[in-house]
Amino acid sequence: MTDQGVPEHLLKTRNQEPVTLLEAISEALFEEMSADDDVFLLGEDIGVYGGAFKVTRGFLDHFGASRVIDTPIAEGGFTGAAAGAAHMGLRPVVEIQFMDFISPAYDVITNYIATSRYRGAGPLPLVIRGPVGGGNRGGPFHSQNVEMAFFHTPGLKIVYPSTSYDAKGLLKAAIRDDNPVLFEEHKGLYRAPALREVLPDEDYVVPLGVARTVREGTDLTLVTYGAMVHKSTEAAEILERDDGASVEIIDLRTLLPMDDEAVVESVKKTGRLLIVHEDTRTGGIAGEIAMRVSETAFEWLDAPMMRVTAIDAPVPYSGSLEDYFLPQTEDIVEAGRYLVAY
């Protein structure tokens, strides 16, 4: 790829300047579209307007209206259409403006897209991506995490990055994957200054299904993903400083398929497991993780497996209530302390 005609704001990595998680995602999309004519984008206001969060700013001018498609407000319609295009060998990437609005596409995703290969239609390369997560005073309809709506459906993959490096590499891997992939982008991380980093100026991918050990430790395994990776890291530092506890943090990165081995190996080392997710509690992913660890590493457990999560309610709009609703660093510290002392 030459830099010719590439919009300035998409040349940061080329120029070895740091990028935000949002910019990393823009770069991944831009590079995959440049490298493969079959990759194209669909979504609401992604063309003329450049996307609600400006992820695709400049794309329409560069790639043209047939590869950057402004859709009607019909998430089911254009997600289903993306599946049809994928049948024809194209590699569509769908943006859901806020992932809360993936619900109208629930039918086509679970009944058609997830079962497509099983029903004999061959590969279905399709990425459905968009912003998720709370903490932005977005209220109940602009703050949801959507992983558990789809985690139970065989045939889908689910990715949820926590760093700029991972976001870019995972998105590229997702676009190249022959399966439908849901890709969740935490809007609180989009422009977080702490996540700005200089990325390798090369075509790298982060493979799906492989977790990352964020920090090593011996006393407690903390399994998490997305924005909670950062709160967990804060908590681990507090526990190290105040309690002398050594906490290992596993960032799942891909929720489905899950990297069981990484989790189980760590638990076998520490004997203690705390799962932290931003999503609400009941029916959250913590349950599946606990079940798998129980099935495979029960004898290694020295303490109950526990979880820190949001409470079971819609996301409140009020700021004080949203803080109360979401898991906070202090909650993780408290639960971690309890387990380490167990």
């Binding site: 003329v48 402004d70 009607p72 407000i73 019909a74 089911g76 319609g77 809360d100 609005f101 619900s103 109208p104 932005n136 005073r137 977005g138 209220g139 109940p140 309809f141 602009h142 509690r281 109950p304 526990m306 979880r307 820190v308 999560t309 949001a310 409470i311 079971d312 309610a313 819609p314 409140p316 709009y317 009020s318 700021g319 004080s320 209530l321 109360y324 609703f325 898991p327 906070q328 909650d331 408290e334 639960a335 309890y338």
Partner: protein, 359 residues
């Protein structure tokens, strides 16, 4: 068994052949309505003044919200194109609200303070609601203005577009079943017509001849952008495919809106089934249009209207002042309310395995 009116055929024009009375419920007899489609065509002077004030209040409140948003105190302030207050104000004015749960239902998309006021939400409540975290009319949860007051007949703009067409259709089904002479009006933006929810809601309500008026607020300020959403000249072209009566009005003309919605509501009320009203916004200021007309028709002088406008502004300022000075109520006891039983009031971010209580 009385045959259900919902199954009665109609003419191929898509327009109802006749007014079919609500039948088949066997409950209370409904209030008889002898609507005359032309009766309300001319608005009285008092009505015009009310409309003017309501638009002025909406605009004053909106500009207060923009200032609050700039100050970081509010999120979700109206960010839609200017000059669209007329729709919500006109629709609210055309209906029959009641504070005891017996009035018409109003489900706006544009949160115009002057329209909401007519539907029981005080200006104080309007600002409290926006400044969620304070003791607003709807607890502390705040609702990003997804305010619901079923007693007043006001239904929140739930965010996933189209859903309220389904819900309001069902409320109107309830009116039919109970023989109540009420209607429900649901407003939606033009983009919402693309949603499956809009379609399914309309298909159901049309099949049941629900006394519902569907308002499509069509943004035609930027014709090219509008065409990106739909190839249609007018959303009334969609009416036939659902068998609805329809009308299209100028979103800058308050009288036109009120008259059209009133007539649509009367048709729905008397049993003609769902009606569609398109309100076209073209970037023309409804307040100035109304001012010019009222002055020309000698309904009011420039000075009188300026006084009404000033009064609207000062009412907003006073309401906001009161709300900002109100003390925060205790915080977290207002979180429950997920279930009717309001169980699980504890926070439970993590559970202490020492106590089964905590589970």
């Amino acid at each position: 068994m009385t045959p259900d009116a919902g199954d009665a055929p109609e003419s191929s024009s898509g327009l109802p052949r006749s007014a079919i009375p609500f039948a088949g419920t066997g409950r209370d007899s409904r209030e008889p309505v002898h609507a005359d489609d032309t009766a309300d065509s001319i608005l009285g002077n008092a009505e015009l003044r009310d409309l003017f004030s309501a638009v002025a209040v909406s605009r004053a409140a909106a500009s207060r919200l923009v200032a609050l948003e700039d100050a970081g105190l509010v999120r979700g302030a109206p960010n839609r194109p200017a000059f669209r207050e007329g729709g919500a104000v006109g629709v609210a004015h055309a209906l029959r609200p009641a504070s005891d749960g017996t009035g018409d239902i109003f489900a706006p998309t544009f949160r115009a303070a002057g329209a909401l006021e007519r539907y029981g939400l005080s200006l104080d409540g309007f600002f409290e609601e926006h400044l969620a975290g304070r003791a607003g009319p709807f607890r502390e949860v705040g609702t990003e203005l997804h305010h619901v007051d079923l007693q007043a007949g006001l239904l929140a703009p739930v965010v996933p577009l189209g859903l309220l067409v389904e819900v309001v259709g069902g409320m109107c089904l309830g009116f039919r079943m109970r023989g109540e002479a009420r209607v429900g009006v649901v407003c939606d933006s033009d983009g919402a017509t693309s949603t499956g929810a809009w379609h399914e809601g309309l298909v159901f309500a049309a099949a049941r001849r629900c006394p519902m008026v569907l308002v499509v607020e069509a943004g035609r300020e930027d014709e090219a952008a509008a065409r990106r959403h739909s190839r249609l000249e007018s959303f009334t072209e969609k009416a036939r495919g659902y068998g609805l009566g329809s009308a299209s009005v100028d979103g800058a003309d308050l009288s036109e809106i009120v008259v059209a919605v009133r007539h649509a509501a009367e048709r729905a009320r008397r049993g003609d089934g769902v009606q569609l009203v398109e309100i076209r916004y073209t970037g023309v200021d409804p307040l100035e249009r109304l001012r010019t007309r009222m002055v020309a028709d000698e309904v009011a002088s420039e000075d009188e209207l300026a006084t009404l406008e000033a009064r609207a502004a000062s009412r907003c300022a006073a309401a906001l002042e009161r709300v900002r000075n109100a003390s925060l109520s205790g915080a977290h006891d207002t979180l429950p309310g997920v279930y009717a039983e309001s169980e699980r009031t504890d926070r439970r971010i993590w559970a202490d395995p020492g106590s089964t209580q905590a589970v």
